[in-house]
Amino acid sequence: MKKLDLFNAPNSREDYNNQIHSIGRIFTWIALALICAVPVAFCIAAKVVPDWGAIAACITFIAGYWAIGLIEAFSYAPLLGTGGQYLSFITGNIANLKLPCALNSQNVAKVKQGTEEQEIVTTISIAVSSIVTTIIIIIGLIPLAIFQEELVEVLQPISPYVMPAIFGGLTMALLAKYWKVALIPFGVCFLICIVGNLIGMGSALSQSTMIIVGMVVSCISTTILYKKGLLDGKKKAPVETPAVSADVQESQEETPVQEEIKEDDVQE
């Protein structure tokens, strides 16, 4: 059996990937153990036993979040890359922070989907984001402990608007690349939201619910378009960003977007 050395420089993408899996799994198990130790430590410190009846009454709630967690882990995986997936599912705040941050970095770095460059940029982006967020939270605890009421009173009213603030700009930046695959799911999601609100079920159609609905609809519609060959030839344009370094040389068919960027680079 091949022994995996976590500290040696990997020779290939596969080696690197295996190392990231091994490190990711170790940290995930450690983090899970610590997370599960919190309620145990709380009960010991407070000298109380949880109300098992109340916990049993929350079974459907827990099952619902288990389902959401599994769907998220399954569907975010192709977008987050190996390192990003392990990090994001320990540090949380994926849809409102880690994924937009990684997408912005991929967009700025102009890395090609599925390449090792994309994997590296995504991992760096999510690692840096996790460090910054953890430090900001620690720093934030000090003023929060002193001025809790004042701070919450001033800043809490704008909390519901963080998602529109992030995704307005991010959608604008990504629209050129993804509009073809996003057109049908957007139409369907828009319709579902309108009908849901008209029949008084608007509160059930939160952003986290609609992400899952949008992904399911999009996978179905893209599969149909793909099988009918409607994405062929021009398919690369909506999903592919211009490549960097070696990828540019490897690319045989360049999209109009890539050619446009190259022209811009020449002008500069």
Binding site: Y16, A54, A73, L79, L144, C189, S218, C219
Partner: protein, 242 residues
């Protein structure tokens, strides 16, 4: 509620998260060097990720402030440092009956158990099944890159579609009819749509400056600027509608 042992656990968890991030960062940086990736791209990625993350992190701190009135400071700190988000935690507090000031420590203990059990499916999936699943994804990428492009494009397009349609329609239906979450914070449709429009317009302006003004540096800062600008506009409009 704020026992020393919980703070110690919180400190250990924060240390583990930073250690994990640093290890992954070093591994990725070394690999980038090994495959001769452009240093400027790496530096730019680190810079724009750090800048991007500052503003969206502030509501997480506010979330701790919201939760601490029910369960003290230490528990929300841990909950919002690891997987989980304010809306999940508040929902768990309500489900366990702990979302009231002065709840007993037994009720809070039950709420912490519910919070913990609810969010572990994602990391468990990663620890047990993710390597196998990722190997399948990697096979698709190797054998049929076009198919993998279509999958990632579909997931991203679907995510953006779901979020934007929810924001747009949710915003339109709550004009003049704000909704209030369980912690009492109101969401005003007018401000939601103004914030979304402001974010789009500011990004457009940044794009125009970048292209027509030939200011390439703007590319890295366009999104953080649009987030700060749009939230600033939301902040200005809150007193108007609230």
């Amino acid at each position: 509620m704020d026992f020393v042992v919980i703070y110690v656990l919180g400190a250990i968890i924060a240390t583990i998260i930073i250690a994990m991030s640093v290890v992954f960062l070093i591994k990725a940086l070394k690999r980038a060097k090994a495959i001769n990736m452009d240093k400027a791209v790496i530096t730019e990625t680190i810079k724009n990720s750090a800048i991007f993350s500052i503003v969206p992190s502030i509501p997480i701190v506010i979330g701790i402030g919201v939760m601490m009135q029910y369960v003290g400071l230490a528990i929300p700190w841990i909950r919002l440092t690891v997987i989980g988000a304010l809306q999940y935690e508040i929902a768990a507090l309500f489900a366990a009956g702990a979302a009231e000031v002065g709840a007993s420590t037994s009720v809070i203990a039950s709420a912490v158990v519910v919070m913990t059990l609810s969010i572990i499916s994602g990391p468990l999936f990663n620890a047990i099944f993710y390597k196998k699943y990722q190997t399948k994804l990697y096979d698709i990428q190797t054998n049929n890159a076009k198919k993998m492009d279509a999958i990632t494009g579909a997931l991203l397009g679907g995510m953006l579609s779901g979020i934007i349609s929810s924001i747009l329609v949710g915003g339109a239906f709550t004009i003049g009819n704000p909704t209030f979450d369980k912690s009492g914070v109101g969401t005003y449709g007018e401000i939601t749509l103004i914030t979304l429009a402001a974010s789009v317009v500011i990004t457009g302006i940044c794009g125009a400056i970048m292209i027509f003004g030939k200011q390439k540096w703007m590319e890295s800062y366009a999104l953080p600027i649009s987030i700060v600008g749009a939230l600033g506009i939301a902040f200005a409009f809150v007193p108007v509608f609230a």
